[in-house]
Symmetry: C2
Subunit: 336 residues, 2 copies
C-alpha cells in the first residue's frame, strides 16, 4: 500500500538554528528538540522515510508556533526562511517528501496573509495554523484575510494544537500541571477552535475551506453526542448571550460542520480511537498521518503503529486507499 504521511514535523536547518537562539529555544524547547535528531537532521530523516515501503511525507514545521519565538518585527522574515527551507528540501528530495505546509507569522496578521499568498504561490501544499495565536482565537477579524487567501488557493489548513499554557490568560498551575495541557489539553484546544470556526461564521463565509484537524479531530469524534445534541440546544444554558440567533443564522446543523472537517490518523496508534474517528469523519475525510518523530523511538514508532492499525481495520480497498494516500493526493494537489 502507498502511504502519504500528511502531518509530521521537521525543522529546516536555517530555521532550526535561528530557533535555538531564541530565549524559548535556549530553554525547554532546545532541550526537547535536540533530543530528537530526526526533527532536524535531514540525512537521518531521509533514512527514516526510506525504512518504510512506498512511504512519503508531506513536511510541516515543528512546534511551537513562531509567534511565541519572535515579535511581529522579526516573525515575517523568519516565516519566509522557514517556508523556503521546506520548499527547498521538497524540491531536492521529491521522492521522500512529496509536499510541504507553510507556517505564518500570526502576530503580524497582514504580513501573514502576504506570506500565505507567497508560500502557496511558491508551491506550498497546505498552510499549518496553530489553534490560537499566542492565546488569540483564530476567528478574530484580523485573521480573516489569511482565511481568504487559503480558501482561494483551494489548499487545506493543517490545524495543529497550540500549547494552552502559553496563553497569557490561562490558569497555568491548574491545567499545565503534570503536562495535562499538552496530553489532554491539545486535543481539547483543537475542538474549541473547530467550534469557534463554525459559530463565528467563518465556515459559512468560506464554505470550501478545508480544515484538517490533527489527531483525528482532537476530542470531537468521541464527543459526537454532545457536539450533536448539546450544540443543537445552544442557548438553553445561557441567558446573557443570544446564541439562539447564532444557531438560526448557520446554514447547517452544527454537527454537520464538524463532520465536514477532516481528521488525520495521528492518534499514537490507538486502534479504537481510529475506528471512532473514521466513523465520524468518513473515509473521504481522513488522511494518514503519523506525527513523526514524536514517538518514544524518535521517528519510526508512530508511523509503524499507525500503519498496523490501518491494516487491522475492516475497510474496503477503496476506503483504505483514500485514507492511506488518495485523499492526501487530492487535498494537497499531489501527483506522486
Amino acid at each position: 500500500m502507498r502511504y502519504i504521511d500528511a502531518f509530521n514535523h521537521f525543522f529546516p536547518k536555517r530555521y532550526y538554528d535561528a530557533l535555538l537562539e531564541t530565549p524559548t529555544g535556549a530553554k525547554d524547547l532546545g532541550k526537547r528538540v535536540r533530543g530528537i535528531p530526526a526533527l532536524f537532521d535531514l540525512d537521518l530523516r531521509i533514512r527514516l522515510v526510506d525504512s518504510f515501503d512506498d512511504y512519503a511525507q508531506v513536511l510541516s514545521h515543528g512546534l511551537p508556533p513562531m509567534e511565541r519565538l519572535w515579535g511581529p518585527n522579526k516573525s515575517p522574515e523568519m516565516a519566509k526562511i522557514a517556508n523556503d527551507g521546506l520548499a527547498e528540501i521538497v524540491a531536492k528530495f521529491p521522492r521522500h517528501f512529496v509536499g510541504w505546509s507553510a507556517l505564518l507569522p500570526l502576530n503580524a496578521p497582514q504580513a501573514a496573509a502576504k506570506e500565505a499568498e507567497r508560500a502557496l504561490g511558491n508551491g506550498a501544499n497546505a498552510v499549518q495554523l496553530p489553534t490560537n495565536a499566542n492565546g488569540v482565537p483564530l476567528d478574530e477579524p484580523q485573521f480573516l484575510p489569511i482565511f481568504e487567501v487559503i480558501a482561494k488557493s483551494g489548499k487545506p489548513i493543517l490545524l495543529h494544537p497550540a500549547r494552552t499554557r502559553d496563553m497569557p490568560d490561562y490558569p497555568t498551575e491548574r491545567y499545565s500541571k503534570y503536562e495535562i495541557c499538552s496530553v489532554l489539553g491539545w486535543p481539547y484546544e483543537t475542538g474549541v477552535t473547530l467550534a469557534r470556526l463554525i459559530f463565528s461564521g467563518i465556515m459559512d463565509r468560506f464554505p470550501d475551506l478545508k480544515v484538517i484537524a490533527h489527531h483525528l479531530g482532537g476530542v470531537v469524534p468521541y464527543l459526537e453526542g454532545r457536539v450533536g445534541h448539546s450544540f443543537d440546544q445552544l442557548g438553553v444554558r445561557t441567558s446573557d448571550e443570544d446564541y439562539g440567533t447564532i444557531l438560526k443564522s448557520l446554514r447547517k446543523r452544527p454537527l454537520d460542520y464538524f463532520k465536514d472537517f477532516y481528521g488525520d490518523t495521528a492518534v499514537e496508534g490507538a486502534r479504537a480511537a481510529t475506528v471512532c474517528g473514521i466513523d465520524f469523519f468518513g473515509a473521504d475525510h481522513v488522511v494518514f498521518a503519523s506525527d513523526c518523530p514524536f514517538d518514544k523511538e524518535k521517528g519510526p514508532g508512530y508511523i509503524r503503529d499507525t500503519m498496523q492499525v490501518l491494516d487491522s481495520l475492516a475497510l474496503s480497498n477503496a476506503e483504505r486507499e483514500k485514507i492511506c494516500f488518495r485523499n492526501a493526493q487530492r487535498l494537497f494537489g499531489l501527483t506522486a
Copy 2:
C-alpha cells in the same frame, strides 16, 4: 434485558425549592431547570421510569455543584437536606429508584467528610463529586479525608464535570463562548481530574477507590494513545518541574490507572464513542447510564437511544449483562 441507570439527575423537592431561591438559581439555572420538569417532578419521573421495561434508576442530584450556590456556613445543612431527600424517595419507590448518590459541601471540607460518612451510613450507594470545587482541584490536601471516608465505604465516586467557566481563574470569554465550556470542556475537565487523581498519588493512597467517570471517561478513551505514550514520557517537555520523579513513584504505568477507572455509557447515544469507550475500560468497568433528563425530549431520549446503541453492539451476553446492570449491582451494592 434489565437496565440499571447509574447516572441521571433529579432534585428532591426541599432542595429544589431552596436552590431556586439562591441568586444563581433565580437566574440562568432557574430558567434551565424549570424547563425540564422531569428534573424535579417526582410523579412525572416515576411515569418516565415506568415507560421503559425492567428499567430502574440510581438517582443523583442535578447540577450545579452546591458550593456554587451556598457559602460554607450554609452548604453542610443543604447537603443534608439534599441527601435525605433522595434517601426518602428511594425508600418510598424502591422499584423505580434502586439507589442514590450523596452530594457533599466541598466548600466546607471537614463537614463534607462528615456528611459523606453520615450519608453512606444512611444508605447512599455512591458519592457524587464535581471535577473541581469552585475551581479548586480535588487532589488538594483538604479533600483527603473525604476520599478516605469513601474508600473505606467501598462505594464508588460518581465523578461529574463542573462548569469550568465558573472557576474564578478561568479565561471566560475564550472558553465559555458558544457554550464550548460545557459541550467540549466538561469531558476535558473530567480527563484533567482523572489525571490529577493519579499523578497526585491519591489513587496509590487509596488503591481500592472506585471512580466512575461520567460520559464514558470524558475525553480519555479517545486519547488512549496520548494518555499512554505521552504520559509515559512525562517530564520531557518540562524543565522547571521534576516530573520524572513522579512517574517513578507511581506503582503502575499511567495508562493502567486510567483503565482502572470506570465509565458510564452517557454519551448521548453516540455509537462509535460507546464502542471506543467499552474497548478502553472493558466490559467489567462500564455501567449503563443515560444522563436523563437532559435530552431534547426532556426525559426519555437518551435512555432510549443508549439502550438502542447497546442493543446494536457485538457483545457477549455476559458482557452485555455486566454493562446493563450487573456492574451497577456490584459497585453500588444493590440487591435489586
